[in-house]
Amino acid sequence: MSKTIIDKLWDRHIVVKEENKPDLLYIDLHLIHEVTSPQAFAGLREKNRTVRRPDLCFATMDHNIPTINRFNIKDETSRLQVQTLEKNCEEFGIQLEGLNSGQQGIVHVIGPELGLTLPGKTIVCGDSHTSTHGAFGALSFGIGTSEVEHVLATQTLWQNKPKQMNVKIDGELGFGVTAKDVILWFIAKFGTNVGTGYIIEFSGSTVRKFSMEERMTLCNMSIEAGAKASVVSPDDVTFSYISGKRYAPKDQEFLESCKRWRELRSDENATFDQTIEIDASEIEPMVTWGTTPSMCLPISGVIPAEDSSPSAEEKQSLKNALQYMGFNGNEKIEDIPVQHVFIGSCTNSRLSDLLQASKVVEGKKVHPEVRAIIVPGSQAVKKEAENLGLHQMFIDAGFEWRESGCSMCLGMNDDIVPEGERCASTSNRNFAGRQGKGARTHLVSPIMAAAAALEGKFTDVRSILPKKEQEVDRYAGV
């Protein structure tokens, strides 16, 4: 019988399959961070349980970490949370890339760059953006703390198999249009719950041409479409990214692994519960204007008026969003001023993101009304960027160059957007209060964020980006 890549990944991990029960799936990699794990470890201790496979767990701290002086966590509860992770990892024998480590970073950035994320694996983490790792052809999804405890104790999870959706993206992306714009466009068009109850396979020629880092951006935000997980079947782009990574198989073992990984693709006649076809050439640089990622328009767009919704419920939600965001309706996206720019997060903080942004800002100056920060996704990304001199380019332009962490994506550390102010952010969620109480978040690509930093308002990056580089650098990444 023909199988999708999702069927193949699922079937290979079934430990127990019985009638009227979810399947018991084996988990190959459990990523752990400081915010969603303390109660899970406490639960183990309470019941006198152990971690079944500490060798399949891997921890780092990212959510709370200050990005100026990382060793000076002023907030006492944040500090305790970080210390608790250190203590738990030590007690249960789990590898931790801590504050001192050159490998520390956002968990979804370091998993791939260390070669822990590999095709064919099942990967979980107490974090919804675990979907990121699907870019490698892994079955990868976010879980709650009870499930974190369950995986620690048993290395398995009971899961009902979701439905399957093929999102086929074909065609040439326009100049200045990025993977971020593709996923924002998808969510704007199909909504934040189109993927609920589904695992998505992203397929098609556009996805094939994406670098690994672009695929990660795409899969990262599939949770914003409600999907349980998303996956891209692995190919030569995947293998060349993985080759030589610290924990990836080496030499003969690597070649044999590649052979196996090549089979991880949907069979020709495999059926999906739903298929959505997208023409990539239709997509423009996107900017969110509201309080869900689906409230999103092309840079040329005009914000809807309060009475433009057909139903009473939608009118109310539109009204709430406009009010929170400080709009009357009918404003042009290009007229929106920004006071903050954040380039970072598990969506867009990798080397290629910084490289692309640097091309926009090189030799220019950040607008005097804008505070702009760059938060590399990991210490490794930071170092690599510094080796290329990108940090100096950003600093010369007036950006702040920070240490790695989740930072302003969710503002659990000191990086917060003040009430009523706007931020052009390369992160993934524009929910009310996400970047600070009353903060107004506009999600964009790294190059659109860079353009906004220079102009002090949203600007079509295509008017700034050097034309000679029609093809935005498809750098393979760290």
């Binding site: 430990v15 127990v16 009227n20 029960k21 979810p22 018991l24 084996y26 915010v35 969603t36 303390p38 109660q39 019941k47 349980r49 079944r52 959510h63 709370n64 907030d75 509860t77 305790l80 949370q81 608790t84 107490g126 974090d127 919804s128 976010g142 879980i143 709650g144 703390t145 009870s146 499930e147 405890e149 369950h150 104790a153 048993t154 290395q155 398995t156 009971w158 009902n160 979701p162 934040t192 719950n193 609920t196 109850g197 914003e224 409600g226 349980k228 044999e256 869900t292 419920e313 939600s317 709430n320 969710l410 659990m412 009430e419 969620r429 929910f431 009310a432 209060g433 996400r434 109480k437």
Partner: protein, 198 residues
């Protein structure tokens, strides 16, 4: 965890779609290392103004809705972050049952694992429930998990779907990890075969 069989209580209405877990419990309250005491932070940014005063216009801030043990809301409730602090806060605040048009997947699982019953009803059914109001509250609803039904004071009955396995777990309040640990032989066998086969 005690089992969930039936529950009777009045219901507060949060008539919004896409309520995300950042609204249910904002990030500044995720720094604790235990599971207790999150209720006071539930819907914090909606319940309180920046100056700390209570927002009188927020649906759940009237004295009567504070008595509710069931929350009735719109579609895609609990979307966004996987934070289990969201159901911890809802439960600690006093909600035992959440009735919505739909739930985000991770949030739904997190509810079940904490003994909160998430019930999906259609938009029309939710509208019908909202016809039996007393002030700002829906009059007592009787929820029966075993029968998979919600009954209002008028005697109208609304049936809901629920996964049989998770229903059994919830009804009995079983510890999921204990049950899985009984599968040790199968887990070991899987691991051994994987090492052989790569």
């Amino acid at each position: 965890m005690p089992g969930f069989k039936t529950h009777s209580g009045s219901a507060a209405v949060l008539d919004r779609d896409h309520v995300d877990t950042d609204q249910i419990i904002p990030k500044q309250f995720l720094k604790k290392i235990d599971k207790a005491g999150y209720g006071e932070f539930l819907f914090f940014d909606w319940r309180y103004h920046s100056n700390g005063e209570e927002n009188e216009n927020f649906e759940l801030n009237s004295p009567e809705t504070k008595e509710a043990s069931i929350l009735v809301t719109g579609k895609n409730f609990g979307c966004g972050s996987s934070r289990e602090h969201a159901p911890w806060a809802l439960k600690d605040y006093g909600f035992q049952v959440i009735i919505a048009e739909s739930f985000a997947d991770i949030f739904f699982n997190n509810c079940v694992k904490n003994g909160i019953l998430p019930i999906r009803l259609s938009k029309d059914e939710i509208k019908t429930l909202q016809k039996e109001m007393s002030g700002k509250l829906i009059r007592t609803l009787r929820v029966d998990l075993d029968q998979q039904q919600v009954e209002n004071e008028k005697g109208e009955v609304f049936h809901f779907e629920f996964d049989p396995y998770w229903k059994k777990m919830l009804l009995n309040g079983w510890d999921e990890i204990s049950i899985t640990l009984q599968q040790e032989a199968s887990i070991k066998k899987y691991e051994d075969e994987r090492i052989v086969n790569g």
